[in-house]
């Protein structure tokens, strides 16, 4: 080396540091085969569920019923059956017995028969046939539910599963990459270059962007799928909830990502990542199970929709059900954003205290020390 004059470089700003780190994270993710495969599977599942749902909703076949003589007109009036005309009661019974029809309807001449027909079934009373042929009183509903229960259940579970899968996949990824940096000791070079906060922020940002992109991709795919399969009514109902879900997810994920990074930084080996991050995993599972068991319980849902860890699932479900006032998601979002900030501050302290401690697991008390 000759006596060259060394160029003077200006230090990168905090934001530039964050950006460089997050860029590296994104590149590392995109290049990893396991990430691409997992994303592909997640997209396929969401696409498939929309298409299958569409097909099922279109092909509601009529129940097959055999009818004899004068009963035929009564059955035709109900306009809910695929009618097979039988010549005799015995023929109709034979059809019921061999299973080619659900039930048979025959005339009943007895004086005490109000409807003048008898339904013949094989093993038990066919409730579908009975209710179609029954005379019901008029019903007046004072406060009609906006969504039918089963659909609400599906939507709730859908949000729950997507949140759970995305959060655990990306959470585990962040945790692993934190420990990878510790285990390979690259962290010491990084720490001598940029601030620990910039490093943490970059990792959280990079992975959150990827997780968010995945959620947006799923949201778009589901919306397009609903539109293409002609389920526009459903799309109009679910649409706003999906948008809110994406917004809540963005904040909620940053919160979880910081927790994953902080807890993972306390151990030095990949084998220990699982046990170190298990408290966070528990926090991720809670909204999933709550939404499965309590999706028809407005009180539990209301509480869920304000607790930061479960709000990303709870609030969109309530929006879908039409239970939330316009200001509720905004308020819940503020709560979530504030708690995210608190967690980032605590998380970055744990992170910077624990990063250089190799070997045994760092205790929470040591990690929180100033």
């Amino acid at each position: 080396m000759s006596n060259t004059i060394r160029p003077v470089h200006t230090a990168p700003t905090f934001m530039q540091g964050v950006w460089l780190v997050s860029n590296r994270e994104i590149k590392a993710r995109v290049r990893s085969k396991s990430f691409l495969i997992a994303t592909g599977i997640l997209l396929l599942i969401s696409m498939a569920s929309v298409i299958v749902g569409g097909i099922l909703s279109q092909s509601t076949t009529l129940t097959k019923v055999a009818a004899v003589g004068t009963a035929i007109s009564a059955v035709e009036q109900a306009d809910a059956f695929d009618i097979v005309k039988a010549n005799t009661i015995a023929d109709a019974e034979a059809l019921v017995r061999d299973g080619s029809v659900e039930a048979a309807v025959v005339a009943d001449a007895r004086a005490d028969s109000v409807l003048g027909i008898t339904v013949i079934a094989k093993t038990s009373a066919p409730s579908e046939v009975l209710s179609a042929l029954s005379v019901s009183p008029n019903v007046k509903i004072l406060d009609p539910a906006e969504q039918d229960g089963f659909l609400a259940y599906l939507v709730a579970i859908g949000f729950g599963i997507i949140f759970l899968m995305s959060a655990t996949t990306f959470g585990a990824t962040i945790a692993q990459s934190v420990v990878e940096e510790k285990q390979t000791r690259i962290v010491e070079i990084l720490m001598s270059t940029i601030s620990v906060r910039a490093l943490l922020a970059g990792k959280v940002l990079g992975n959150s962007l990827m997780a968010f992109a995945q959620i947006v991709a799923i949201g778009l795919l589901v919306s397009i799928g609903l539109a293409v399969t002609g389920q526009r009514v459903l799309l109009a109902d679910v649409g706003p909830a999906i948008v809110w879900f994406a917004v809540f997810f963005a904040f909620g994920f940053v919160l979880l990502a910081s927790l994953y990074a902080a807890t993972a930084s306390m151990v030095s080996r990949q084998e220990d990542v699982g046990s170190a991050t298990s408290p966070v995993l528990f926090l991720v599972m809670v909204p999933y199970f709550l939404v499965i068991f309590f999706n028809d319980n407005p009180l539990v849902l209301a509480i869920m929709s304000y607790v930061p860890f479960s709000a990303p699932v709870g609030m969109p479900v309530r929006i879908f059900l039409g239970e939330a006032q316009w200001w509720e998601p905004v308020l819940s979002l503020v709560v979530l954003a504030l708690s995210t900030m608190v967690v980032i501050v605590i998380g970055s302290r744990i992170y910077s205290n624990a990063l250089l401690r190799m070997g045994a697991r760092v205790s929470f008390r040591d990690a929180l020390k100033r």
């Binding site: 080396m1 006596n3 060259t4 060394r6 160029p7 470089h9 200006t10 230090a11 990168p12 530039q16 540091g17 460089l20 780190v21 590296r24 590392a28 290049r31 990878e180 940096e181 390979t184 000791r185 690259i186 962290v187 010491e188 070079i189 990084l190 720490m191 001598s192 270059t193 940029i194 601030s195 250089l356 190799m358």
Partner: protein, 294 residues
């Protein structure tokens, strides 16, 4: 000029550094030696700002080092590490960019360094696919890729084959020749002896000696001579101010408290008969080291 001023560091109840002070002069290759656990790595981490001292400061040309100055250091931690799955060149560019280089300079420095360290053929291989020796070279490149003004290298020679040691030695001397302060630690005292302009010896977190190897020799070991004569040399024991260290008939090694004592021995030996050899012994660095830390 890099000054470490009265640095103290304690881990829990264990005092790991006590009032550590020394300087790394411009253009001086400064060897930092001490037993395992003596506090070398902690000191280096504090210089780099990776750890903060309980008290004391690190000065660059007289001003306290700030987080912004970190990018001016080239640091090689004792525990080596790069991202295993990143390509070598890409990795170096990333580190250079983190230190504030623009993309063009980052790429230029990377290819220059890889060529100088003989790694240019492996530029697009992942770090994990390199042999251990080549990973070490990549690690050195990582410390140098951002045109650092100061070098702080923890055990830069461990794990290197003799050829690589020569390559690294010449690269480091080149930096010192440009006027950069270079601080490096090593257990290989022969390399330190060959390379260093200054020496800092640390034991149990306390700086025991500090200065050029010549100064340390005069400070920490008494004048030592060897003599070979035609006859028996047993009489040397009786000369005042002389301690015999080794004796074997016509051969002896002895230490003198004064120059006059050594001359007295020589004159008496000549008076007794032929003197085949009389020489001052230069104690090796290893000897000084043992002397200093004992």
């Amino acid at each position: 000029m890099l000054d470490i001023m009265s640095v103290n560091k304690r881990y829990g109840t264990r005092q790991v550094l006590t009032d550590v002070s020394f300087s790394v002069g411009d253009g001086r290759m400064t060897g930092f030696v001490g037993a395992n656990g003596a506090g070398k790595t902690t000191t280096m981490r504090i210089i780099l700002g990776v750890l903060s001292p309980d008290s004391g400061t690190v000065l660059i040309d007289g001003t306290p080092v700030t987080a912004n100055d970190r990018r001016r250091f080239g640091y090689m931690p004792e525990e080596r590490g790069l991202y295993p799955k990143m390509k070598v060149a890409e990795h170096l560019v990333y580190l250079a960019r983190l230190h504030g280089l623009d993309p063009a300079s980052a790429r230029r420095n990377t290819s220059d360094l890889l060529e100088r360290l003989g790694l240019d053929a492996r530029a697009n291989d992942t770090v994990e696919s390199l042999s251990l020796g080549n990973q070490q070279r990549a690690q050195i490149a990582a410390a140098l890729v951002h045109d650092p003004e100061f070098l702080v290298l923890d055990e830069p020679f461990s794990g290197l084959d003799p050829l690589a040691v020569d390559v690294v030695t010449s690269v480091l001397s080149g930096y010192a020749a440009q006027g950069a302060p270079v601080l490096f630690s090593s257990h290989q005292l022969d390399i330190v002896e060959r390379l260093c302009d200054d020496l800092v010896i640390i034991a149990d977190g306390v700086i025991r000696a500090n200065g050029s190897p010549e100064t340390l020799r005069t400070q920490h070991s008494r004048e030592r001579f060897e003599i070979r004569t035609a006859g028996d040399t047993g009489w040397i024991r009786e000369v005042p101010g002389v301690t015999v260290v080794d004796f074997d008939g016509d051969y002896a090694i002895f230490e003198c408290e004064t120059d006059a004592a050594s001359q007295a021995v020589l004159q008496r030996a000549i008076g007794l008969g032929a003197v085949h050899a009389f020489a001052q012994q230069r104690p090796s660095l290893a000897t000084i080291f043992k002397e200093v830390i004992s």
